[in-house]
């Protein structure tokens, strides 16, 4: 099996807002086995070298979306990235790009949470139904329309990949827009009109310059770039056709 004597250098961008003026790098020499993920590498550092090293993690199986970090400059989930793939080179870890650093590898997600709320990420029923009327039925085709966008785990790797979010932190961004699209595409949902104000706004889809790196780094293959671009077409239709529609809230 694995050679127990292998040691990999892990360079971690450290930042403690209470003591540090600016983030700085520290290199740790971590013994590892072939089955160890990058997350296990930082856990080893915390347990053996410096208990103050701070990072988020929970499930260790790429479903909770907590452990994202920049690994050699690429946004990745550290639990599904393996140290063996970088050995014998040094591996560099930084907090997710484009977000304010709270401490070490932990970023401030409050801006993202606000954006997530702003897309109305829940089904707004087309028509009200009482329980007596039974459940909402959906065909496999209708299910297929939105299910890929429903796979988002809110890990925000796409935000760290997005050059436009890097330039303009007000951009609603790939993740939240993919989730918005997920609800718009749901046959049970009737909230697309209500969500259009955000889609068509200056913080909406048109900030995207279609680099599509978001879709490349998405660990769940949600394809936010596609969701954003479909909504550019929707917003363009809305821009020109709004004059033809009768006034009033639907």
């Amino acid at each position: 099996m694995s050679d127990p004597g292998k040691i990999i250098e892990i360079e971690v961008l450290r930042y403690n807002p209470e003591n540090d003026e600016a983030p700085h790098s520290t290199v740790y020499k971590v013994p590892f086995t072939d089955d160890m993920s990058v997350l296990q590498g930082v856990q080893y550092i915390k347990d053996n070298f410096d208990g103050s090293l701070t990072f988020r993690w929970s499930c260790r199986m790429a479903i909770c979306g907590s452990c994202g970090m920049m690994i050699n400059g690429v946004p990745k989930l550290s639990c599904e990235t393996f140290l063996r793939d970088y050995y014998p080179n040094r591996i560099s870890l930084e907090a997710l790009a484009h977000f304010p650093i709270e401490k070490d590898l932990v970023v401030d997600w409050s801006g993202f949470m606000e954006k997530l709320e702003s897309v109305h990420p829940y089904i707004i029923p087309k028509e009200k139904r009482s329980p007596e009327e039974g459940e909402y039925l959906q065909t496999p085709e209708q299910f297929g329309e939105y299910i890929r966008y429903a796979a988002c785990i809110n890990c925000t790797l796409c935000y760290s990949a997005c050059p436009q979010f890097g330039l303009d932190p007000d951009f609603i961004g790939p993740g939240a827009l993919a989730i918005l699209h997920r609800y718009n595409m749901d046959s049970r949902d009737g909230g697309a009109t209500r969500r259009m104000e955000l889609v068509a706004s200056e913080e909406g889809v048109f900030t995207c310059s279609a680099a599509a790196y978001c879709s490349e780094v998405c660990p769940k293959h949600v394809d936010p770039a596609n969701a954003v671009n479909i909504n550019k077409i929707n917003a363009s239709k809305d821009y020109f056709l709004r004059f033809l529609r009768p006034k009033g809230e639907s």
Binding site: E117, S118, L167, E197, L198, A200, S201, E202, E203, G204, F206, S209, K232, A235, S236, Y239, F240
Partner: protein
């Protein structure tokens, strides 16, 4: 969320960009080959294919005029949009001035080509 959001006027520019991109992808390489390589090197086409009288005739034909106009205008709108969105790579902020210069160039090019083509007569 009760934030007051301003509607973006980007659809106008984005649709012109998209139309120009589609047209450029479909006709661009062919036009470069014909006008930039084949004709100057005397390949494939008769020598006078792009001679002055023939091109004038083309520009005076209703459809030829339309083709020239659409190629110039939409290619311009496409390219200025791309340039505008790449400006920050060169350290130029994408503010109202750069927006005006970029899209203004396309608008000027569109108006000038429309004027010149119209003045050529039918």
């Amino acid at each position: 969320m009760t934030k007051n959001r301003k509607r973006s006027n980007a659809p106008v520019f984005w649709l012109l960009f998209g139309a120009g991109g589609m047209l450029a992808a479909l006709t661009g390489p062919m036009l470069i080959f014909i006008t930039g390589i084949a004709i100057p090197l005397g390949l494939l086409f008769p020598e006078d294919t792009m001679s002055y009288p023939k091109m004038l005739g083309f520009a005076q034909n209703f459809f030829g005029k339309g083709f020239i106009f659409v190629i110039i205008a939409l290619f311009l709108w496409h390219s200025v949009h791309r340039i505008f969105h790449s400006l920050h790579e060169f350290g130029i902020p994408a503010g109202p001035t750069s927006k005006l210069v970029c899209y203004g160039t396309a608008l000027a090019g569109t108006l000038v080509s429309a004027f010149v083509l119209f003045r050529m007569g039918f």
